[in-house]
Subunit: 340 residues, 6 copies
């Protein structure tokens, strides 16, 4: 088969650290264009990897007719650009959160279906070796049923991560719509659904802007989740963990506890009631500060080449997004919110 | 001054491991009676420490006329016995939760005031050296404002702790009223109020019975707390941490993070944005499994001898209880609850 | 069902530390007699656990008619006593090595079959949690095929272990027949057969008396083993590891290495070519100096109660013994020996 | 004295990592030529260090008339080239194994003697600080007599080490003659002879090709060694330690144990029966993957300058080779082989 | 304000590693000249940072008329150059020891005062975070009174540090006047005065040249110090700590001990009588071998910009020098010496 | 030979923890009497070990006529009692300091010589395995010459050690004459003389009473020592190390450093300039708080049985005492003192 002709749209940090290098390393891919309103950014990558540079997305679609696009733009553009790409016959890999409303997410899924293209969402947590290992252990049954859990993701905020620093679109309400919840919280709602092979049934959320200045988006959220299975737990997303950065998950189960991402050397630690302790050193959990190869791009290309459902489908992305949207609704209404 | 004549009411584990030995070690105390409906338990301590044994509380009050009583009975008896004792002119140390409703708590405070006796609540977390140290550090200002927090208390449940094992009153709804929340959650609502020198303003709570059999009381609760200062966080109480027992608190602040009770050797760890790390080894945090001298009894006796307000007053106990009661209300109504 | 009436024959250290206490702890067992030519030893246990004391085995058999016997006597008596017991209708648990020749072992199996009783051999290594875990991991396939291995068992010798110290039967050729090989080597031939689920096909052995004085039995043996699967490795048994005691096994496989019993905390360590490391803390490996509950007795009683083949059958014991006998033959002939 | 004019013959990895840089660092040496059938390799070093490049060994000998040569060619060429060099009046440093038969080794020694030149073999293990330290400790007598030992050398094979990768001469029977035994085993036979100051008297060897594809040379060998002193032990060479690489030696002695190369920080650990433990951090043991300065080249030049017997003489090399050859014979005949 | 025009006089190691880079990093500074009799050294920095190069100090003063000078010349030149600079209207930062006699120190202070310029001494120990932290802890009172102490500074000598190696002026009596005491001892007399906020009252000193060849300056000194407060302790300076380099201070106090610079990770360790242990990781203590930003230059520039007394005044430097001079006097007279 | 008939004089802590149990464990000894003015103490041991109890020393001498006595009385009695015992024909083991003046020490040596009895001094530091090991290493020459050293001994004072607590004779000037110097300092002057095989030539000492109340004896001393070999160092004795107890010695030598008693696991650590590090775990150094078998008693009995000079002779004790006396003289005169 000939190579998949890919365009990366939006040339910020997530493109720089993950999409572009991982496409470049995939031998079934040809990077044919880069799009960014700041044209110099697109040009830099075009120079580096070949392909053209565009400031305008529509122009690119018309001119390049790509096989696939990676949508790495601010949150508010995820849905319109993904739909436009699908309508232009391109497979779509969209960053998380896949959209900023459930209606948008639904429309994206529809557009992909209608045009016979694949739609994948960039929930990279699923591919990290510690999470893969943890899921295997859970499925082995050694721990019994999950009773309660805690999953959290906190770092000092996108000020230090984005190519635009404190001026990043991450802080602009109209482009980002959500803050820490869209950046980090949706990662953990997706992770917990996937790892427990369960769905969230009810959400309560305290969401607020506690410390970042000059922004209306949330910099912190603490949520309660009740799962369909009856398990319950907390999900925390924070942009104000100025020290003690954290991307960890702990599961208390009938037969013991599993700690994921709590120790720098042993990423999965299993402690059973019978005294058994297992420590698994399976590779670091990626954080914004320390990027590991995500596996997302390879999975996306694989789904195109084999014409199979992507590892993280549009439906997956939609369900994980819905949890986050329910948390916002909970904060707004002061009530627990049932997930559909 | 002559010795304070004390009676211990209820001869279960908390009396066995803390009240009785700590009274016995206080040279200003004379243990004059022990009360328990299982009279053999009372008699065992009377034999050991002197004093009389009673099966009936009222009989004891009339006969002994104690200077002070420790109320260590099931939760539902805390208020009536405390009020009766106060009316009999005795100072009262009542175990947590001080009562099972806010009305009861209010009545207890009134009864003490009316009778000119001291009322203290057994919130021992405040006396543990790691918590004392953490509060000092917070007050020093080095961390700046607390932004978010996580406080949790989990163990395998009272099955292994109570003198009656799985048949304990802890599991009988009519005597206990509440489960893990009354046993553990109220410790943490008290701790977070005291440590942050702040009040809880709003609560959301998921409270449920996930795993213990044959009981209607809660074995797990996950709560969101918003403080008057704006800080927010999670409070978790669990009787199903079958491994990974936990009595820890983490505070993420403007200048760094403070971890309390997360490491067996260094009970307070301070990590600042500027790279500074401080590790404080100040003595273990007590758990049900590993009892440390609480300091509660000495503080109670001190308040009697010096006629000063006890270190944990009735008002303190009431405010900490209210947080827990709000969590139950939140679960019942599906709404956030303001702590008036 | 009524209790299994058990007699322990030979009241030395293995009876003292493992057979007697484990029978005593098994609620389906009644200890009905103890046999030892030094009658005081038998009497001590009879006093402790009830039952009668005998100096003579045949007298006991005739008088007691036990349901089952544990044969814990010097090696040379294993076969004759086991056969006599089987002929008397008793199930037999015999210590390792089950016999001192293949003919004896065959006769024991025959006797058990003829009399319809169970014959089990005390190869306790199979029951130790680290070995159980290691076998599970091997069977999971994660390591691929075993290529080479090293298994060894060494301690300072029975001088410090036997109730008779340096005067022990362990050093008397006519009673022990073999030394370190019968004491330790046969444990490892059994372990490697069982763990790899493979049979030894060829053996070379250097066996000698290097350091113990006044004895003709071997105090050291180093062997080469070739397995039916093609894997090959070394098996070492030593009574002269005066420091650096060792009961470890390392398997080098297609995908990495598994180290069993090489680290005091993590008894099974898995290191894969892909960088993954797993550390399993599953309970200590028992040594002569530090006895753990063996599980052997419970398995023996289980086989009687359920009338199923014992976990370590006479055939198992015979095959493991044959490896050791081949090593002696190799030493004697200067040739490699095929394990027919 | 003027500088020693040296030629390096064979420009593969051992020349690249050890011979050439160590000659270049020795101020008494002038590198006057490099020889390799792949002339570009020779030219590269000639350019770097001065001197001429040759594709043909004989031409070089005739033209350059070197003072000394390093023979770093495939095993089968060691003897003929060394003899030719000696006959041309050059001192010879030959890599291990010095030859592929005892006759060759004998002829090399003869040639050197006849021509009055020095012949040294590249057994670098003797120069590594941990081995030097271990020998000192043995000689001090603190351990008493060595009773048993284990020495092994395993790594993932020359596929990853040789300049030609999997196409290396190491895998071609006609050039290499032997595999892991010639590459690694002969290192350990030399080490154990030298460290114990003892000679091997009898050998049993299992030698085979267990896992490497497309080669007839051995990738694994497990041997039993009996020493003249009576000590016995195992020697293992492996090209299939895909993890758990190992170049370690353990000596169990009358007074305790000495572990060499078993711990990354403390390369020599002494544990005595009296409880004393000594840990010696004396510098890493070199492996193929992590090269340390060998000391071999300096010792060779020293022997030339001072006209003294080299630190590893031809006789040493021959005796160490003979052990390996006996292992091959043992495998071929199924018998133990006496080393006389 | 316009930039401070600075000249660095003496272009040896202290200028290279600390003064020049720290001035270059201070945005309020313009480096206008470099002075060194070896003009190439001065020229190198002029090329790198702009400004002129001079071989002669007087010529520079006349020509450049700097705002400030750093005097980094051999000890004997500290006073005359500082005085000349002050008389030329320049602020002065002089390296330690500020002078080689008390009279010189006094004259320097006078010259600065007369000319209205600031005089600062380069006692960088005061700025190191572990020392700052230790002083804070002492001042908090938690340790009570200091009773005894030990402070030492040892390394292998300036042979390895100076740009001139073993030919350094450090070893030439007429330029250095003092050896280890002027290089290291005066650092510790300043540190102990500052940290304890106390003055030395009496000194006994053994000062000698124990190991360095071809020099008359001291390479070792061991001193006893008695403080005005009554505390007493030892001060050691050494150029012959060939291993075990050390810049540590331990204070034994009424309530426990504080160890500063004794552990590589935790630079300040507090151990109290009540069992409390605090470990502070606050940044490494600088040694000659491992330079950290000193803070000295920024403090000097700050004092100029704000016209405030420098953090280490001439009076400070004089008092710290006097302790050292008393030690020399003690050695010379065989008597204890009162520090006036 | 018949048993040595020994009397222990003074039944305080040193007798309780070391002399009496070590005599009792020595099979060549018969304990025939115990002497203490508090007769109950003597009687307690007489009851325990046989022999008679005396309140009066002279009465005992006359009545018992012992072969040997251990003098464990307050310092001021060491000389008169030792001389009396010698005159009565008894061998003498006297605790340190052997006397309180050089004249007394000389007289003791004379008395022993005149009466043909052995005189030994209880300098137990020499027998501790770490010190023995350190001396061996020094003597091996690997470190070269000792240049400087630091030796110190500090604990919280005899308040917690003596049978009489704070009322101990240790604090009474007339009985103790010296404080920390006699208790601890003399141990270290003896150790440094013995370990370096060198004599002290010059002493400066700051001796004072810094913190103990109600006593005139010294609780702290810091000394400078210059050795005949030219080495110099500090010796510190303290009764106010309330934490950070210390009995350590560090030697900085030509080739590296040796640290003795600085690490709880590795009592002797050798770090050489060439990077070599040796850690020796050879058994703990005894402190007042943690008593190890001293070896002193066995050595004393050995000297009697073999009629050889004791391991620590009177001359040794006198020389070690003289160092301490010189420190007192130095403090008194404000001058360095030559050790004649």
């Amino acid at each position: 088969m000939s190579k998949v002709r890919v365009v990366v749209v939006g040339c910020g940090s997530i493109s720089k650290y993950r999409h572009i290098p991982e496409y470049a390393a995939n031998k079934n891919v040809e990077l044919v264009a880069f799009v960014d309103p700041v044209i110099e950014r697109a040009e830099k990558y075009a120079e580096l990897h070949g392909g053209k540079a565009f400031a305008d997305f529509e122009t690119m679609l018309a001119e390049v007719k790509p096989d696939a696009v990676s949508v790495c733009t601010p949150n508010a553009l995820h849905a319109p650009m993904s739909i436009a790409a699908a309508n232009a016959g391109a497979h779509v890999l969209v960053e998380k959160p896949m959209a900023v409303s459930d209606e948008e997410a639904e429309a994206m899924i529809e557009a992909a279906k209608k045009n016979g293209v694949h739609l994948m969402v960039g929930h990279n947590q699923r591919f990290m070796p510690p999470h893969v290992k943890a899921k295997q252990i859970l499925q082995s049954g050694v721990l019994g049923k999950v009773l309660t859990f805690r999953t959290s993701f906190g770092h000092p905020g996108p000020d230090g991560w984005s190519v635009d620093g404190a001026d990043s679109w991450f802080f602009r309400k109209e482009e980002a719509i959500m803050g820490a919840m869209g950046d980090l919280g949706v990662h953990k709602s997706d992770l917990i659904r996937w790892m427990l092979d369960d769905e969230v049934s009810e959400v309560a959320g305290f969401v607020g802007t506690l410390h970042k200045k000059g922004t209306e988006v949330d910099d912190n959220a603490s949520c309660l989740l009740r799962m369909k299975s009856g398990a319950m737990g907390t999900l925390v997303a924070s942009w104000t963990y100025y020290k003690g950065e954290d991307n960890s998950t702990i599961l208390w189960c009938e037969n013991g506890v599993m700690k994921i991402g709590t120790h720098p050397d042993d990423q999965v630690i299993l402690e059973l009631r019978n005294g058994t302790v297992e420590k698994h050193k399976v590779g670091a959990i990626s954080t914004n500060d320390k990027q590991e190869t995500s596996g997302v791009i390879d999975a996306f290309i694989e789904s195109i080449l084999t014409n199979t459902t992507p590892a993280v489908s549009g439906e997956d992305g939609r369900a994980s997004l819905k949890v986050i949207l329910c948390a916002f609704e909970s904060q707004a209404t002061g009530k627990f919110v049932s997930v559909n």
